[in-house]
């Protein structure tokens, strides 16, 4: 799960930088925000959830 979280982080970055392939600035903004959110989800959603599962306060 941790590896998946890191991969989603990198995927988010790839989505974000791919916005340069579009000519419309509106589309660029949508794509880059989407990429940023995907990267954030990878870190704070997937990766952090994996850590909470084994948290010290649960034992």
């Amino acid at each position: 799960m941790k590896v998946l979280g890191l991969l989603v982080c990198v995927l988010g970055w790839l989505i974000a930088v791919s916005c340069v392939e579009f000519s419309s600035v509106g589309v660029q903004l949508v794509v880059v925000v989407l990429g940023f959110l995907v990267a954030g989800f990878g870190a704070l959603g997937i990766l952090n959830s994996a850590h909470i599962r084994d948290a010290i306060w649960k034992s």
């Binding site: 970055w13 930088v17 340069v20 600035v25 660029q28 880059v32 952090n48 010290i56």
Partner: protein
């Protein structure tokens, strides 16, 4: 319940009123702030100056040695034609001597400015040490203070060995410091659309060879103290449970690789700064003094380490609800905040890398933007805590000041005072919300709020360049190789916001990932976290061998445990 609902109504109504007034005043204030001063009507055109001849130079004379020997209490005689360096004493003063002296004076002014502001930033280490130690419990005072003390040494060494070369190895062309021509090696690949993407430099290892240069030395010192700021941020979030040995290795990684890579992409001629020239996205990624490069890198590295370490024992109950763990010295915290605010006058204004030429006289405006954002940040955080919890919380007021300062770091050279005040105020609110979010929702333990102050508000600072840059700055007619002034969305350039958001995505997607992988490796090899017994006793004795306060009986509230030390 009724009291809680009424209090929330008050919170919402006050915040709503403030927001309404800000948004209503924003268009008027922004429009007024960007009115440039026009030339007075009927101004006469000055006649063309006459050419200077060698005869003119020979006719200039300064005070004699006899006159100077009588003393110069008013300063009217000291500094004259006799002090201009002459290349050929037999030939006397020449036009070439005069012109060369002007050039050297400009570089000397810029050197002195950059060095002195760099010294101010170095002193911020003391501020961070005070803030972090004050926000931790007394039983960890020695350990926390030592992490902040030694991050200077570990970071500096790693940066000298390889970090500086990776970051700035290809950054030749900085005219304010003499050109830095030895730093002319940047490794690039062909990226999207067949454009060149600079990835890292490879000149300047150990500051040896051609990088043994006066200008390079100035640049190294200034960049190193910025790197150390990023490195010290991590120690706050990881305090009270981080092994000292793991901290040392992690700091070396950050100084040698993680920070310099992003620093190269943003400041060293790398691909982020070239988004403007390559893809017509504004002026490329713009980060004047490092909301992204320094603070977000530090904040996200802190997030990675905090996740790996896990929360402190006793921070969370079995149902996941958090327990407060107050620091032991709020006076130290607030003094530390003032030291940081003082040092920030070096951080932001110093990032012009000079005070002469290329728009560097904007240093006053940058300094005022900096102090304004800190001011509104602290006010916003204070208001939030006062309304929400009924008391003006000191630690969050301090964090609010820092949040405003972090947020203004990137846009400080590009915005006006109204924009600076808004950016700081928003950061003050944001840091309070972020601290609660990380603590209560994500259950990431951060003893000092470093992730929120530097990570969250650093990202806000990066984004705010893309919103509030007003297009009036002029640092030599271009920035990142794109002509004109940096301009954000509110002043007509949405492409700038796209570039900033790509920077944000890179911070989260690449820098955080890299930092997490490095620290995961350290955890596998040496272990990041101390044992439970050491943590409960306090890290001072187990990790450092000495107490921070050997003459005091230390009692930890809530855990009912005390460490009694007999005073000899």
């Amino acid at each position: 319940m009724l009291v809680t609902i009424n209090r929330w109504r008050r919170v919402v109504s006050v915040l709503g009123a403030v927001l309404w007034l800000s948004l209503g005043a924003l268009p008027v204030a922004l429009a007024q702030a960007q009115q440039p001063a026009g030339a007075p009507p009927g101004a006469a055109t000055a006649p063309a100056p006459a050419a200077i001849t060698p005869a003119d130079l020979k006719a200039v004379s300064g005070p004699s040695a006899e006159t100077l020997g009588k003393g110069d209490p008013g300063g009217a005689l000291t500094g004259s034609v006799g002090d201009v360096v002459v290349s050929d004493p037999k030939a006397g003063l020449s036009l070439a001597d005069l012109v060369n002296q002007v050039g050297q004076n400009r570089i000397a002014v810029n050197f002195v400015w950059t060095l002195i502001t760099g010294y101010l930033v170095m002193f911020m280490q003391a501020g961070f040490a005070a803030v972090e130690t004050g926000l931790c419990r007394a039983k960890n005072a020695n350990h926390t203070m030592m992490m902040n003390f030694m991050v200077y040494g570990f970071g500096l060494f790693a940066y000298w060995v390889m970090g500086f070369a990776i970051q700035q190895g290809g950054s030749a062309g900085i005219s304010s410091l003499g050109g830095l021509n030895p730093l002319s090696s940047e490794f690039s690949i062909t990226g999207l659309g067949g454009k060149s993407w600079g990835l890292f430099g490879y000149k300047g290892f150990f500051l040896s060879g051609s990088s043994y240069d006066v200008g390079v030395m100035v640049m190294f010192l200034f960049q190193m103290v910025f790197m150390d700021t990023a490195a010290t941020i991590v120690t706050g979030a990881a305090a009270e449970r981080w092994k000292f040995a793991a901290f040392a290795i992690s700091s070396v990684f950050l100084a040698a690789i993680t920070y310099p890579l992003y620093g190269n992409w943003a400041w060293g001629g790398g691909w982020l700064s070239a988004l403007g020239t390559n893809y017509k996205l504004g002026h490329g990624y713009c980060d004047f003094a490092g909301s992204g490069v320094v603070h977000t890198v530090g904040g996200l590295s802190a997030l990675a380490v905090s996740m790996i370490l896990g929360p402190r024992i006793g921070k969370y109950n079995r149902n996941g609800s958090p327990n407060p763990m107050p620091g032991h010295d709020i006076t130290m915290v607030l003094i530390g905040c003032f030291i940081l605010a003082f040092g920030w006058f070096g951080f932001n204004p110093g990032s012009t890398l000079g005070a002469s030429g290329n728009g560097a006289l904007r240093i006053g405006a940058i300094a005022v933007n900096t102090m304004l954002a800190g001011c509104t940040g602290s006010i916003a955080a204070l208001l939030y805590m006062w309304i929400r919890f009924g008391k003006p919380d000191a630690s969050m007021a301090g964090n609010g000041l820092l949040a405003g300062l972090v947020a203004i770091t990137a846009p400080s050279g590009f915005v006006n005072t109204v924009g600076a005040a808004i950016i700081g105020f928003a950061a003050g609110m944001l840091v309070c919300l972020s601290v609660e979010f990380f603590e209560r929702v994500l259950k990431v333990d951060d003893p000092v709020g470093a992730i929120s102050v530097h990570g969250t508000c650093g990202l806000w600072g990066v984004i705010s360049v893309g919103l509030f840059a007003d297009g009036t700055s002029n640092y030599g007619g271009s920035w990142n190789g794109v002509n004109g002034s940096v301009t954000g969305l509110f002043y007509g350039d949405p492409g700038q916001l796209v570039a900033q958001l790509i920077g944000c995505a890179t911070l989260v997607g690449i820098v955080f990932t890299l930092s997490y992988l490095f620290n995961w490796l350290i955890d596998a090899l040496v272990g990041q976290r101390v044992g439970a017994a050491s943590e409960l006793e306090g890290l001072d004795l187990p990790e450092m061998g000495a107490l921070g306060y050997p003459e005091f009986q230390l009692v930890t509230p809530g855990l009912g445990r005390s460490v009694e030390i007999a005073a000899d």
